[in-house]
C-alpha cells in the first residue's frame, strides 16, 4: 500500500521524493479552487460590473454559501489536516511562529501553520458574514431570495452597507492570504501552492499519508447532502411572498385614462398626498391638458391612494415613492436623479425611450414596482 504510493510520486525538483505525503484530500482542494472562482466572480460583479449584473453576483454568492457550509462540515468530518481540531490556533504557538519569521525562517507544518490557520478562520468568517449580509440585503432591497419573506427594506438597507464594508475587509484578507502564500513559497521555500494542486507536501517528519483516492466518496456525499438541503430549503423559502410587496392589478380606467400619453405608473411610486395633488391638477398636467370626467377622477384617485407608497416596503417606494417633491414628480427626487445621473440625456431622447419618464423602456419590471437591479435593461444604442 505505502510502497505503491511512493512509486507514483513525482520525481524531480525535490531531492527526496519518497518524503512527499498526501496532506490535502481531493475534496478540500476542489473546495479551494471552486471558492477561488466563485469569489472572483462575486468580486468582479460586485465591485466593477454595472448593477444589472446582480443576477450573476447572486449566483456566485449562493455558490460561496454552499461551499462554505461544505468547508465547515469538512472541518469536522474531513481528513486529518482538514479538521479544524488540527489547526494550531493557540496564541503561544502563533507568537513562537511570528518570532521565528522575524529571523527569516518558518518551520515545517504538515497542515496549516499557526498564521495560516488564523488566516483560514478569518477568511471563512468574513465570507460567512458576506453571504449572510448579502442574503439580507437581497431580501430587503430587491425582495428576492430565501429571506425576502421576513426582511424589511430598512434592515436590507443596513445589511447592504455592512455587506459593502465586509467586502473591503475580505479584499484585505485575500491580500494577506496571498502575501502569506508568496512568502511561504519564495522566502521560506515551502511549495504550498503546488500542494494545493497535488495535495502533497514534502515532509520528513510526517506519519504515513493517506491514499490518493481517500475521502473522495465522503467528500461527494457531504457536498451533495448539504447542497441539496440548502438549495431545497432556500428555494422553498424564496417561494414565499416577500414582505412589503404584493401584486396589484391595474384597473381598466387607470390603464386607459393614465396610459395614453405615458406608461402607467405603479401606485407605489408616489405618496398619497402626491397622487391627490396630481389628480387635482390634471387640467394643467406638466404643460398638457389631461382633464378627466369626475367619476374617473374619483375612481382612479381611490385606487392610487389605496395602493400608495406607504403601503409598499420596496426600494422604489422607500427611496422615491415616499419622498415628496414640489412638482410631485418621481424624477425630481434626489434618489432618482442620483441613480440616473450617469445616463446621457441623448439616451432619454432615443426613439425607443422618448423621455425620462418612460421608466418601462429601461426597467423590465417597472409595472411591478420592484425596479430590481437585475431587471435594468438599457435599450439598444444606449451605453451607461
Amino acid at each position: 500500500m505505502d510502497s505503491n504510493l511512493h512509486n507514483n510520486l513525482p520525481r524531480g525538483p525535490v531531492e527526496k521524493p519518497d518524503q512527499y505525503r498526501l496532506v490535502w484530500d481531493l475534496p478540500l482542494r476542489l473546495f479551494h479552487w471552486f471558492m477561488v472562482i466563485a469569489v472572483s466572480v462575486a468580486g468582479i460583479t460586485g465591485f466593477l460590473a454595472p448593477s444589472w449584473w446582480l443576477d450573476t453576483h447572486v449566483v456566485a454568492g449562493y455558490a460561496i454559501g454552499i461551499l462554505l457550509v461544505f468547508r465547515i462540515a469538512w472541518g469536522f468530518v474531513g481528513s486529518h489536516y482538514s479538521k479544524f481540531r488540527q489547526f494550531p490556533m493557540a496564541i503561544s504557538g502563533m507568537l513562537r511562529h511570528l518570532r521565528m519569521i522575524t529571523t527569516g525562517k518558518s518551520d515545517d507544518h504538515a497542515g496549516h501553520n499557526p498564521l495560516g490557520s488564523w488566516m483560514i478562520a478569518i477568511l471563512i468568517s468574513t465570507l460567512t458574514g458576506l453571504v449572510l449580509s448579502g442574503l439580507v440585503a437581497l431580501a430587503g432591497q430587491e425582495k428576492l431570495g430565501p429571506l425576502a419573506f421576513l426582511t424589511t427594506y430598512q434592515v436590507g438597507h443596513l445589511a447592504k452597507e455592512i455587506h459593502e464594508f465586509i467586502a473591503f475587509v475580505l479584499l484585505g484578507a485575500i491580500f494577506l492570504h496571498l502575501t502569506g502564500v508568496f512568502a511561504e513559497i519564495y522566502i521560506f521555500r515551502h511549495p504550498v501552492l503546488k500542494a494545493m494542486f497535488t495535495g502533497k507536501k514534502p515532509m520528513a517528519n510526517l506519519s504515513p499519508g493517506m491514499k490518493t483516492s481517500a475521502y473522495i466518496g465522503r467528500g461527494a456525499l457531504v457536498f451533495v447532502v448539504f447542497g441539496v438541503l440548502l438549495i431545497g430549503v432556500g428555494a422553498s423559502l424564496a417561494g414565499k411572498p416577500p414582505m412589503g410587496w404584493r401584486a396589484v392589478d391595474v384597473p381598466a380606467d387607470y390603464k386607459s385614462e393614465c396610459g395614453d400619453c405615458h406608461v402607467v405608473y405603479h401606485p407605489g411610486l408616489r405618496s398619497k398626498e402626491a397622487w391627490q395633488s396630481i389628480m387635482a391638477g390634471l387640467a394643467d398636467h406638466y404643460g398638457e391638458d389631461a382633464s378627466l370626467d369626475e367619476a374617473s377622477v374619483a375612481s382612479i384617485s381611490s385606487y392610487l391612494e389605496k395602493n400608495d407608497a406607504g403601503t409598499f416596503d420596496t426600494k422604489a417606494a422607500n427611496q422615491m415613492g415616499k419622498v415628496n417633491t414640489p412638482t410631485f414628480r418621481i424624477t425630481e427626487t434626489r434618489r432618482w436623479k442620483r441613480k440616473h445621473r450617469k445616463i446621457e440625456p441623448s439616451v432619454f431622447r432615443l426613439k425607443s425611450v422618448g423621455s425620462k419618464i418612460n421608466c418601462n423602456a429601461c426597467h423590465e419590471d417597472a409595472s411591478t414596482g420592484l425596479f430590481n437591479d437585475s431587471n435594468v435593461n438599457l435599450p439598444n444604442g444606449a451605453q451607461e
Binding site: 400619453c261 405615458h262 406608461v263 404643460g287 398638457e288 391638458d289 423621455s355 419618464i357 418612460n358
Partner: protein, 147 residues
C-alpha cells in the same frame, strides 16, 4: 361531368354572395358609431349655420397641419404628436407611440364618442388655446376617414 360542374359554380356563387352579405353587414355595424358621431356634429353645426353644406376634407387637413400659435408653446400643432402624415404613427411628448390617426390604418378610431370628445377637448385646448367648434371636429374626422 357537366351537371357536377354546374352545381360547383352555383355553390361557389352562393358562398361568395353569402360572404359579401356578411361582410357588408359587419361593415355597416362597424361604421355606424363613427357615422353617428359625424351626424351628431353635423346636427350641432346646422343649429348655428342653417346653410351648412357638409364637412370638408380640405378644411380638416388645414386644421391638422396648422400652427395657430395661440396654445402652449411646447405643443404648436396637432402634428407635434400625431406626426405630419395621418398614416404614420405619432409619439407623445412622454415618448409613448400613438397609433396612426387615419381610419385606413387604425380602423377602431373615432368610434367612442366619449373618447373622441375627451381628446378634442384636451388637444384643441393645448394647441389652439380654445375649444374646437363642432365644424372643426367634423372636418377633422372627415379628413381622417378619407385618409
Amino acid at each position: 361531368m357537366k351537371p357536377h360542374a354546374n352545381s360547383f359554380t352555383l355553390s361557389t356563387l352562393a358562398v361568395i354572395i353569402f360572404t359579401s352579405w356578411i361582410l357588408a353587414g359587419a361593415n355597416v355595424a362597424f361604421a355606424s358609431p363613427r357615422q353617428n358621431i359625424l351626424a351628431d356634429y353635423a346636427a350641432r353645426v346646422k343649429i348655428q349655420t342653417p346653410g351648412f353644406e357638409g364637412f370638408s376634407t380640405d378644411r380638416g387637413k388645414k386644421l391638422f397641419l396648422s400652427k395657430p400659435g395661440t396654445g402652449k408653446p411646447d405643443i404648436p400643432s396637432c402634428t407635434t404628436c400625431h406626426s405630419n402624415n395621418p398614416a404614420n404613427p405619432g409619439q407623445t411628448r412622454a415618448g409613448k407611440a400613438i397609433e396612426p390617426m387615419a381610419v385606413s390604418r387604425s380602423p377602431a378610431r373615432y368610434t367612442d364618442f366619449k373618447k373622441v370628445e375627451k381628446w378634442f377637448r384636451r388637444n384643441c385646448k393645448s394647441v389652439t388655446g380654445r375649444i374646437c367648434t363642432s365644424l372643426e371636429k367634423g372636418d377633422f374626422l372627415t379628413f381622417m376617414i378619407n385618409q
